[in-house]
Symmetry: none
Subunit: 186 residues, 4 copies
DNA sequence: CATGAATGAGTCTTCATTCAT
DNA sequence: GATGAATGAAGACTCATTCAT
């Protein structure tokens, strides 16, 4: 594993453990087991390092969201696939998910990075919404608002799960997906 | 206006503009137009200051959430009232809302303050959920998961609005309330 | 009791309890029960306050050292009187004694204050020494060195007593006085 | 010379010049000619730095006190050796001596460091006293009081010398040793 | 005289960053 | 590339001192 990766993994771990605000270089160096100068061979500043970690997490999530996605499927199947993928990404990669969720809307992440390419998954969700509205299945509303709605449901369910408010087995997963679907039907 | 208030307002503004992590005393002092020693006549430490700002925001929100709430109303009316109040609080006081939403679980906020009395609004939401489930209107699921769900929808919609993804006038507000209601129906 | 006295007493107490280095105005104010501005009606600065306390202690000790002193008595009687008075002053006023002892040779006390008039007691001790040397009773040596010798004996005995290394009743007092006398005999 | 040593030397010098209480980092940094962060690569805090300087001084003194000591010598010779060593240490290393003498009981010096092994010199002095008392040479008194007494004489004489009350050449040194010996004879 | 809110220079300390090896 | 000693700007916080009341 390269030093660069060591550093990024240590950074994400520390963000998860202690929060972005208390992550310092010396903690990263100790955890990644590299010298203090090494970091600057890969990242020109702390901000760049954090943004790289953020970008990588976003790209990772972007890929996961489209796993097994097939545009030939029915509207409902496609919707469920996208929503399930999001939920499963959160379950499988809680550190990435929480980092993205917590800092995407914080002043720490600059707007241009917030809006970066996520491998087309956002576009795909918007497509499904707009198509659903054309077919009179999904309620007419701002498509971004609608996207935010179904995203917010997944996100809130995951956060409750992470703090162990409740289990999240198949039953709950199905309930969540259905809830998010019904929420936006006409 | 008292110096104490000046300081608290400047602090909340800065948290909103730059995030809790990058709020420094020197920024607060400049914004509040007070000398560096003055803060310590009112707050024994930075942590106490931030917690005090947090407490005030929570108390403020607590009052707003139950505004006009009437337990004699129909289940749906009560649900809408609670959800609308939360949404409107977020729209009217975005700084308070985001601060509470982002930092309630940060290590900076002491647990005893985090668990502040919210004037019973959380309890009231749970009551509505349980009552709705008894009457066969709301789907059977862990009541905390359900609460998390409807709260998360509001929170997510507000965050999208704050970064100007879409407008949030009466129409969108009604759509959001309905979506959150439909999400949990049987 | 005047505010001025309140302040000086509080200061000496605090020096005794915590050491000069950790005495702050706010502690003095609290202990003396005066407002923070009041101190500056009496002392132009902290250094002046401490020096006043030091001077007062020195004057106080100066008076005590000559209590019951009678220049008509025999050399030995006069010597014993001066030494006993010093010992008893230390026992009766440990705070004053320790403050003087600790800070007289520290850089904190300026030389001119260190050498202030002590009501003639130093002079009297030197007189006894010189007279004793003339009569061939006391060994020939620098009179200041001799003075420092007998002072040092009292001082060291008292410091051991203060930290409860041993009791200091009549027997030990007599032993100490005799030891200091014999130390300088021819 | 290493930075660490530079810092420790500058610290001891400043303690001597201005007293422990007014030693600040900025003064140390200027005197040692190092950057402000450098200190913390070697000492985790100011207290640790001061304690380290204290420890080094104590170890240094411990070696000097027993220089040339030979337990086969006569009681008087052994006594004189110990006393002379202490006096000469004070003359040769006034900064170390005064620092130890003034601050051993200050709250700044941690107790475990205060009770450092002094290489057995204290024990050796007590041995001489007790042996002298057994042989009827030294007066019967609490051995700690006796130790305090002869130590205090040296300390007092040195302090007078440091403020230039008198010279301290061989003659005065011999007189001091004799006085301290006679002070405790039967 | 007495007060205490307000002040800001100065303290210790942290931490991202540089640079010689 | 990799290292870590050295750095100094910036941070939280203290405290003697001022001044309007």
């Amino acid at each position: 594993m390269s030093k660069r990766e060591d550093i990024m993994i240590a950074t994400l771990d520390l963000i998860d453990e202690e929060g972005l605000q208390s992550v310092t270089f010396s903690k990263i160096l100790k955890k990644a087991n590299v010298g203090s100068g090494t970091i600057f061979n890969y990242f020109s500043s702390k901000e760049e390092l954090v943004n790289e970690v953020y970008k990588e997490a976003r790209v990772h999530m972007g890929h996961c969201l489209l796993a097994g996605y097939n545009s030939e499927l029915s509207l409902y199947e496609r919707f469920k696939c996208l929503q399930l993928n999001r939920l499963q990404f959160g379950i499988a990669f809680p550190k990435e998910f929480l980092f993205i969720d917590s800092y995407s809307y914080s002043p720490y992440i600059s707007p241009e990075i917030r809006n970066l390419d996520d491998a087309g998954s956002t576009l795909e969700v918007l497509n499904v919404i707009i198509e659903g509205q054309k077919h009179g299945i999904i309620k007419e509303m701002d498509s971004h608002l609608c996207h935010q709605l179904i995203h917010g449901i997944i996100s809130s369910i995951l956060k409750g799960y992470f703090v162990r408010k409740y289990p999240l087995s198949d039953l709950q997963v199905q309930q969540t997906l259905e809830a998010s679907w019904k929420a936006i039907l006409v």
